[in-house]
């Protein structure tokens, strides 16, 4: 299993001769790229694809990543040529496109218990940033200059980075001994500088923040807003809604909760929902329905743009189709099965799970074994391992989220991989993986001596 680089198959240099088209000094001299034919490319990418794990090959239990099955039909829906329109088209000529976007705004608002939803943020982190910008605009509109965002230590790294990107200082909140928000610490952290508290619920240990209403009251009493990170929303569908818990702003990771494919890292989409009071700050444009049809409009106090156009359209279409396919009963069942799967899998593990009761994910600990090594060894058992060494609250954490799409046999295989790797010898762990086509890859040398292009590879490569 080794496939040469495209550049190793062919490297063709074309002299750029734009005589009569452009003056010489406006064009480059030459261009060097692979010059291959379609059969060669078909084989190259087919072979590369076979060197890649995916959720259509087996379980992918990365905690907080919600790697669920991506229904095939949503790809066909998104590929409809009638949907391939330019964003600068006039509203009346793209009623289909606007109708779908409006439908998705409504679906998401209902599912999250929010009053208005923007679809523009192209990823979860972009959604966080959008949400914090909305909070900032809200406070500024009230002449209330606040400088801090409170974030639990166990939160996703994007929360911190998004808050900082919006210009806020981050106040990190420790967890209590149960793994949830430490109310006393929160009380100490909240102040007149508190613009918002960002929470993931259930949190990254899979635990529901039981005191959410109290937390909400505390934040709101201090004039702050409550932000919901939707990464773990797959745990709650149909059973609890962020809007009902007191959250003012939330983002939805449709590539997690609503089954749009992750595509090897993206694209995703991070729609943001807000309560009525914040709706005027949403990015522009939004879609609304009028007697004359659907139309775009700019909310009164809009924060403006978070994406050059309307976000990741193809992803939004797939999310809409997934939600419409499942409906109330399907969405609710998805959460039930996701939670059942996590609890069943945990029950089959020899590894300890320090915190509970958890929902769709849990943080097991590999104790005195290195979690990253255990994970590498799991590759030898033919499965993708969980997220490792995070959240830091659990030492040697293996944060595991099987999602609802695994059947019992698959969970049993996964449990076997966990247990067998956990029980393997130190040597087996340190040298793992041995059964994969690529053996353990040297990350240190990759970072120390970055070679980021084929141009950077020596001739000896």
């Amino acid at each position: 299993h080794y496939e040469p680089l495209l550049s190793e198959k062919d490297s063709t240099t074309v002299e750029v001769d734009a005589d009569g088209v452009l003056p010489d000094d406006l064009t480059r001299d030459e261009l060097t790229l692979p010059g291959l034919s379609e059969p060669q490319l078909a084989r190259h990418y087919t072979r590369l694809s076979q060197m890649n794990y995916s959720v259509e090959l087996g379980p992918y239990p990365l905690g907080s990543c919600t790697m669920k099955y991506n229904p095939s039909f949503t790809e066909d829906v998104a590929a409809d040529p009638n949907a391939a329109v330019h964003p600068d088209r006039s509203d009346r000529t793209i009623q289909g496109t606007l109708g779908l976007l409006h439908g998705l705004q409504e679906q998401l608002a209902e599912i999250g218990g929010m009053d208005a939803v923007t679809l523009q943020p192209p990823a979860g982190a972009a959604g966080e940033f959008t949400g914090i910008l909305i909070a900032k605009a809200y406070h500024e509109a009230r002449g209330d200059d606040r400088s801090e965002i409170i974030i639990p230590a166990s939160a996703h790294g994007t929360n911190f980075a998004s808050a900082a990107l919006a210009g806020y200082d981050v106040v990190e909140l420790p967890s209590d001994e149960d793994g949830r928000v430490d109310i006393e610490a929160l009380d100490a952290a909240i102040s007149e500088e508190t613009a918002a508290l960002m929470l993931t619920n259930p949190n990254t240990l899979g635990l529901f923040e039981r005191d959410i209403l109290e937390i909400s009251e505390m934040v709101h009493d201090a004039g702050g807003l409550l932000y919901y990170d939707g990464a773990n929303f797959n745990a709650l569908l149909g059973r609890a809604r962020p809007g009902d818990m007191g959250f003012d702003i939330m983002h939805y990771n449709v590539h997690k909760t609503f089954a749009t494919p992750h595509g090897g890292g993206g694209p995703g989409a991070g729609p943001v929902g807000v309560v009525d009071e914040l709706a005027d700050y949403l990015p522009s444009p939004m879609v609304r329905e009028t007697a004359a049809g659907y139309e775009l409009f700019e909310p009164e106090s809009s924060i403006g743009k978070v994406h050059g156009f309307g976000g990741n359209w193809l992803v939004l279409v797939k999310a809409y189709a997934y939600i419409a396919r499942l409906g109330d009963s399907g969405l609710s069942d998805a959460s039930a099965k996701a939670v059942l799967n996590a609890n069943y899998l945990a029950s089959q593990l020899d590894l300890e799970v320090p915190y509970g009761p958890f929902h769709h994910e849990f943080a097991a600990t590999s104790g005195d074994r290195d979690a990253a090594d255990v994970a590498k060894r799991m590759l030898d058992y033919g499965v993708h391992p969980p997220t490792t060494k995070w959240p830091e609250l659990v030492s040697q954490a293996m944060l595991t989220e099987p999602t609802e799409v695994e059947d019992k046999a698959s969970l049993d295989d996964l449990a076997h991989a966990f247990n067998a790797a956990y029980a393997d010898s130190d040597e087996a762990l340190e040298t793992a993986p041995t059964k994969t086509s690529a053996r353990r890859i040297d990350q240190v040398s990759a970072a120390r001596n970055p070679r980021l292009s084929w141009q950077a590879l020596g001739d000896d490569e």
């Binding site: 890649n52 329109v85 790294g157 209403l213 193809l314 059942l340 799409v405 690529a438 084929w454």
Partner: protein
């Protein structure tokens, strides 16, 4: 009742048979999955979303019917979202589930395929820009521009201000995104005037100063003008210790001056012009820069390394820049990116190869020139408005009100941009070129 597809309700994608579910509940020691939810009563939701489950066939039909409400217009639209023909091979290969349904490559040993494809994408961008570092995707050109400005500001902590200079002709979305990203860093945006559609060098010279951390210019501009003074713009920036950021796109880069050779420190722009097609503005942001700024780069980077058997292997690298490790001190908040689009773009570039790519870019100049000349021949129209070289698109002056003309064109099956009362903008590529005759005829009727 059987499981899965056969279920009468519930998720069609949850595979549990009744027997398996019972065994699993038993193993967990509960009566029902419901009892596993540790949600206080006071926040329990007991309503309905009022979303009916729909079977696959009916749903496909209903969404197809919805999309059929979009009018079938031949689009002569660009301004930052450009369509070129995407070969069937790209759809076919990129849809392979090993690519489409995989996650970020946290376990590189079983993700070599995608990593190599992204490494190849980076390499193609290195070739196109002449800069040695390209990341493996930003959301779009707008966010890439904003990230470039933040990078410039991080590098110029000593500057007397935090100012970014941008052209007065800047696509609205790019400007809006830039404003939002710069707000948190207390940076400000200045715009410099254009002279006949290109950078007014004298005016720019007056504006750039020590408080300037970055000068941004585009070629082609949002109005399709090929900038003729890129080196001079770069010099102006560098003389003031500012970064020179060049905006372009993946097709134009194949033909126009190599960014590295005109002094560009960062190249941003859209790569989705290849590989994605018209998709309501969905994008793929280019981000390429110099070696010395490597550790300030936002987004994901794939690097070459070796495995335990000394075989070449690829891995995500320099992750200490990123949010999942550096948190609020990360170079960016980006996590989920546009990897799959980058895969498609790389496939499309490879499918074209260098000569067809250069041809495609050359045609963007000649087709635009020819179409402008034909419109210019029509009484009541003047095109191109700017006496410059153009790439794909150009501005048309209309004697009659431009919105009315655009509306009449729509009635005849064409979409063009309306810039203001008497200016339209028209974009021609390989996907609409065969409708140019009909567009000209329609213009003749309505101009």
């Amino acid at each position: 009742m059987t499981a899965g597809n056969g279920r009468r309700d519930g998720s069609p994608y949850a595979p549990h048979t009744d027997a398996d579910e019972a065994a699993m509940l038993d193993a967990v020691g509960v009566e029902s999955a419901e009892s596993l939810f540790d949600i206080p009563e006071d926040v329990r939701f007991d309503g309905e979303f009022d979303i009916d489950a729909t079977d696959e066939r009916d749903l496909r039909e209903s969404i197809a019917n919805l999309f059929a409400r979009n009018e079938e217009l031949t689009e002569f639209l660009g301004r930052g979202h450009h369509a070129h023909y995407v070969p069937a091979l790209v759809d076919d290969l990129s849809r392979r589930s090993e690519f489409l349904t995989s996650y970020t490559q946290y376990q590189p040993e079983i993700a070599q395929g995608f990593l190599q494809a992204l490494f190849e994408y980076q390499s193609m961008l290195v070739e196109l820009t002449g800069l040695p570092v390209a990341n493996c995707s930003m959301y779009d050109a707008a966010t890439a521009l904003a990230e470039a400005a933040l990078l410039a500001d991080r590098l110029r902590r000593g500057a007397s201000g935090h100012r970014v200079l941008v052209p007065e002709h800047l696509q609205e979305g790019r400007l809006g995104v830039l404003e939002n990203y710069l707000d948190g860093a207390d940076m400000e945006i200045g715009d410099y005037p254009m002279d006949d559609g290109a950078v007014d060098l004298d005016a720019l010279s007056d504006l750039v100063g020590d408080e300037t951390v970055m000068v941004y210019a585009e070629s082609p501009t949002v109005r399709g003008v090929i900038e003729e003074n890129l080196s001079e713009i770069g010099d102006l920036a560098h003389e003031n210790d500012a970064l020179f950021c060049l905006g372009s796109d993946v097709v134009a880069l194949a033909l126009l001056e190599e960014p590295a050779s005109v002094g560009a420190d960062v190249v941003v722009g859209e790569a989705d012009a290849l590989g994605l097609g018209t998709s309501y503005g969905m994008g793929l942001g280019i981000f390429a820069t110099r070696e010395k700024f490597l550790r300030q780069v936002p987004g994901r980077l794939v690097g070459a390394s070796e495995d335990a058997e000394d075989m070449r292997a690829f891995t995500l690298t320099l992750q200490t820049r990123e949010q999942h490790i550096r948190k609020e001190r990360a170079t960016s908040n980006i996590c989920t990116n546009q990897a799959w689009v980058a895969l498609r773009t790389a496939m499309h570039i490879a499918w074209l190869g260098p000569d067809r790519l250069v041809d495609l870019a050359t045609r963007a100049v000649t087709d635009a020139r020819d179409l402008a000349a034909r419109l210019d021949d029509i009484s009541g129209l003047r095109a191109p408005v700017y006496d410059r070289h153009h790439f794909r698109e150009f501005v048309v002056h209309t004697d009659q009100p431009a919105p009315a003309i655009a509306n009449d064109l729509a009635g005849r099956g064409f979409a063009v941009h309306t810039l203001d009362d008497h200016h339209l903008q028209v974009c021609i590529t390989d996907v609409n070129a065969d409708a140019a005759d009909r567009l000209v005829a329609a213009f003749e009727e309505v101009a």
